[in-house]
């Protein structure tokens, strides 16, 4: 033992009684478990930011959101009143970035060239993405909320399960394209019609997925024990099952949100999409330009931006899903 570490008790100026007081065994204190403080969401973000790639992807997402929602607002973009639209002037339409910059001088606006009417492809893309991303977020929000609520009941109640399984078998076989096109024809090809068309049966798939997950967890031993101890079903659902499902739900959101953007692009391509200039509509309009040499930028830039947006959203969601699994919090 090291001599210097020894403490001279006389330095405290205390009596022997005070120095060696008897401490009672406190039954209340012994119940306390000493463990590092654990907060679920703090741990989620700690795990999430531990990976450097996530910080890069997240900043990319921030850039995309700024360009999608803030940039069109700053420049006051309106697709109908663009000062550069000129259908008649053949010299201002379908220009490559180099030609466009030579014509108007360098600005962010022209780095992707001009479209068929002389409008800036760059501005049009970001305006289009604001529509597409909003559509995806709203549809995913509605579908996931309804899907999770219905799916949990579906998983718990056996009677409801019989009924919903038949409903699912029937509705899943009605072609989605038909449903969307009929709704678009009845109402109009507006933004909210599209939201309605995508959510009217879209939640069923999510509910079915959640139902399967609930059934897997429902009959685990710890839930059985919980129910034997008299915990109400609702409390079992909220306290025992929902935390288990958080990572599944986040992962599901990660695949759902990009899939709506892809689906919007697909619908526009087959001519059943929105009437607004969304990303899909831009791609559809620019499709004939793909075949002409020198006009490729019009077509490929919205395709590339759509791909970047979907990949970023997907990767962020997947990694957040991984981080929200408590088993990774060690």
């Amino acid at each position: 033992m090291n001599e210097q570490n020894l403490i001279n008790l006389d330095e405290f100026n205390l009596s022997n009684d005070e120095l060696f007081a008897h401490v009672d065994n406190n039954s209340l204190d012994s119940e306390k478990i000493t463990a590092p403080r654990y907060s679920y969401w703090q741990s989620v973000f700690r795990v999430f930011f531990r990976k450097k790639i996530n910080i890069i992807i997240l900043s990319l997402l921030a850039v995309i959101i700024v360009f999608t929602y803030v940039y069109p607002m700053i420049i006051g973009y309106n697709p109908d009143v663009d000062p550069f639209i000129n259908i008649m002037d053949g010299y201002s339409n379908h220009l490559t970035p180099a030609m466009e910059i030579a014509k108007h001088g360098f600005s962010l606006k022209w780095i992707l060239g001009a479209g068929g009417n002389g409008e800036s492809t760059f501005d049009a893309i970001w305006y289009g993405s604001s529509i597409s991303i909003s559509l995806a977020l709203i549809c995913a929000g509605i579908n996931m909320t309804i899907g999770i609520i219905v799916g949990s009941i579906w998983g718990f109640s056996r009677k409801f399960d019989m009924f919903m399984t038949e409903v699912y078998n029937i509705v899943a076989n009605v072609p989605y394209i038909l449903l969307i096109s009929v709704l678009v024809l009845i109402m109009s090809a507006s933004f909210w019609t599209m939201v309605f068309a995508m959510t009217v049966t879209g939640w069923l798939g999510i509910a079915y997925f959640i139902r399967t997950q609930v059934i897997i967890i429902r009959d685990r031993e710890y839930n059985l024990a919980s129910r034997c101890l008299g915990t109400p079903i609702f409390r079992v659902a909220i306290k025992n099952i929902l935390p288990f499902m958080t990572s599944v739900i986040v992962t599901l959101a990660a695949t759902e949100i990009p899939s709506y953007i892809s689906y919007e692009v697909f619908l526009s391509y087959i001519g059943m999409g929105l009437s607004d200039m969304s990303l899909g509509k831009l791609i559809e309009v620019a499709q004939p330009a793909m075949k002409t040499v020198g006009w490729g930028f019009e077509f490929w830039s919205p395709v590339a931006i759509a791909s970047i947006i979907t990949v970023v959203l997907y990767v962020v969601g997947q990694n957040l899903g991984d981080a929200s699994d408590p088993r990774t919090h060690m």
Binding site: I177, I186, I261, F266, Y314
Partner: protein
């Protein structure tokens, strides 16, 4: 097992019928029926009363309503014998306005309206429209009188469902013909009557040949049972949906055809033609109607024949592309998924995950176009079209299938890799693997003999679905590479408001999906003996 299967099939049939009912409500009740004229050129040329009458005629053809004109009613009376021909001529003309009807006509008009309104029909009387200040009719301004009744959903559904399967019989032909009956021959007359080729032929039936042999797969063919999924009006006018999907396309394929008729020397007429005599259908009064093409070649009213074409059918092209891409997907996806699970968190796994993320996140449109652009580049560099990016039915090459197959296989490979990796990694953590490892089995042995066998079961479930799914075709791939496949049938029908095709195609899709789930369950229970669909007796 049998009881369970019968139950499953019945429930499947029930859901198919409900799907058809829902789709009928969607297209017939929810959509504005004026929309069917949106792309009808003859509609825009019609004027006045003729336009109005044309609308009802079309709606009857599209299946919205039952439409009877006054003229039809009178002709029916003549046929029944309650109205003489002279009387018919005197009452057939209706007045320009109801007041101008002749007394005899007014009597029959009143009877016509009374009879049909009692059955729930609505009557429509359109008075004549004159040109200004004259007594001449406007174009299409003749007076009209007709009744119509909307067909209720339940009737439409019933007629549709009962009309799907048609068994040909010798009482099909309504006219008086001689020798109604079925005959059997060893020497099919289509081959000149000398070659040995058995055939069953009918007289009085719809098809002339009920069962016959020829040199195309599957060599034995029948016309006894025909499937009709609904007639098309705009996509492929007048042709049934099922036939639209299955009939061959492309250029005429000529061969030496022996027609039934004989020339002055007593020999059968032979000619280079694409006619497929085996497909002959009865058309009343077509023989001897003065059409020399028909009269010189045929001996009876079985004159409506289809033609041989060099290409495959819509479904054929979709199936060839689909089935090869499914095979490629399983051939590559399963080993790659296994490799990823085996080398978890190594470079292979990371590359594979990158690929999966790319395919899932990027819109499929983007990478299909990317492959097309790559193909175009390659062709431009090589100077010839070594990797055709558009389909050409007239001079087919195997290379033109390559790009569509790649485009279809890529997402399936990613999907297979993703799930197989997931299932295998889940199995790796289970107790029996730890036990096998502690028992001294090598990692390779555990992988092949235990983990794979358990992980492959959910994958097997999807095989019938992907095989049958390739009959349906792919929308974007077929559009981008101009494949004449079945994938675009539904979107085309929706764009052209072809109700018959929409309902028929939906029924086809729903049937395939129900059948593939049942087949998948059966296959799964064959692969894994632990899975049983019958309740166990203890």
């Amino acid at each position: 097992m049998t009881k369970y299967l019968v139950n499953r099939i019945l429930r499947g049939l029930f859901s198919i019928i409900l799907v058809v009912a829902i789709v009928m409500i969607l297209v017939y009740s929810c959509l504005d029926r004026e929309l069917v004229f949106a792309s009808d050129p003859s509609f825009t040329h019609m004027r006045n009363n003729a336009k109005e009458a044309y609308k009802y005629q079309r709606w009857e053809r599209y299946g919205y309503l039952d439409y009877v004109t006054y003229g039809d009613y009178l002709q029916q009376l003549v046929k029944d014998g309650t109205l003489s021909q002279e009387m018919y001529e005197s009452v057939a003309a209706i007045g320009d306005t109801p007041e101008q009807d002749t007394p005899e006509a007014a009597e029959y008009i009143a009877k016509f309206i009374e009879e049909y309104t009692a059955k729930g029909y609505e009557d429509v009387r359109l008075s004549a429209k004159y040109k200004p200040k004259t007594v001449r009719y406007h174009e299409g301004g003749e007076p009209r009188l007709f009744v119509y009744k909307d067909i209720p959903l339940i009737n439409r559904l019933w007629t549709y469902l009962t009309g799907i399967f048609k068994v040909d019989n010798i009482h099909y032909v309504e006219e008086d013909i001689e020798d109604r009956g079925i005959s059997f021959t060893f020497y099919d007359p289509v081959y000149g009557g000398e070659k040995f080729s058995p055939a069953i032929m009918g007289n009085g039936t719809q098809h002339k040949y009920l069962l016959y042999f020829d040199d195309t797969f599957p060599y034995i063919h029948q016309n006894l049972l025909t499937i009709s999924l609904g007639t098309s009006y705009t996509v492929n006018t007048g042709v049934d949906v099922f036939q639209t999907m299955t009939q061959t396309q492309g250029a005429f394929k000529n061969s030496l055809v022996t027609y039934p008729a004989v020339d002055a020397n007593g020999n059968h007429i032979q000619e280079e033609s694409a006619d497929n005599l085996h497909s002959a259908i009865y058309i009343a009064g077509s023989f001897g109607s003065g059409n020399p093409v028909v009269d010189q070649r045929y001996v009876d009213d079985y004159t409506n024949v289809q033609v041989y074409k060099s290409g495959l059918s819509k479904m054929g092209y979709s199936f060839v592309i689909g089935i090869i891409s499914v095979a490629v997907a399983y051939f590559l996806g399963v080993p790659l998924g296994m490799l990823m699970a085996r080398k978890k968190d190594k470079l292979v796994d990371k590359l594979g995950t990158l690929y999966i993320v790319f395919i899932i996140a990027v819109p499929s449109l983007a990478y299909i176009f990317m492959f097309k652009a790559l193909g175009d580049r390659l062709n431009a560099a090589a100077g010839t079209s070594i990797l055709p990016t558009t389909f050409d039915m007239t001079n087919p090459t195997w290379m033109m299938y390559v790009l569509p197959i790649i485009s279809l296989a890529l997402p399936s490979i990613a999907n297979l890799m993703k799930w197989l990796r997931r299932y295998m990694i889940d199995q790796m953590n289970s107790d029996y693997v730890k036990f096998a490892r502690s028992g001294g089995l090598s990692e390779g042995e555990i992988f092949r003999k235990h983990v794979l066998k358990n992980a492959i079961i959910p994958i097997v479930h999807g095989i019938p679905g992907s095989v049958l799914g390739s009959l349906v075709g792919a929308i974007i791939t077929e559009r981008v590479y101009v494949v004449p496949g079945a994938g675009n049938l539904l979107t085309e029908a929706i764009n052209k408001y072809d109700n018959g095709v929409i309902v028929g195609v939906t029924l086809f899709y729903a049937t395939l999906s129900v059948v593939s789930i049942i087949l998948g369950d059966i296959l799964m229970s064959l692969v894994d003996p632990r899975i049983s669909f019958t309740t166990k007796r203890r």
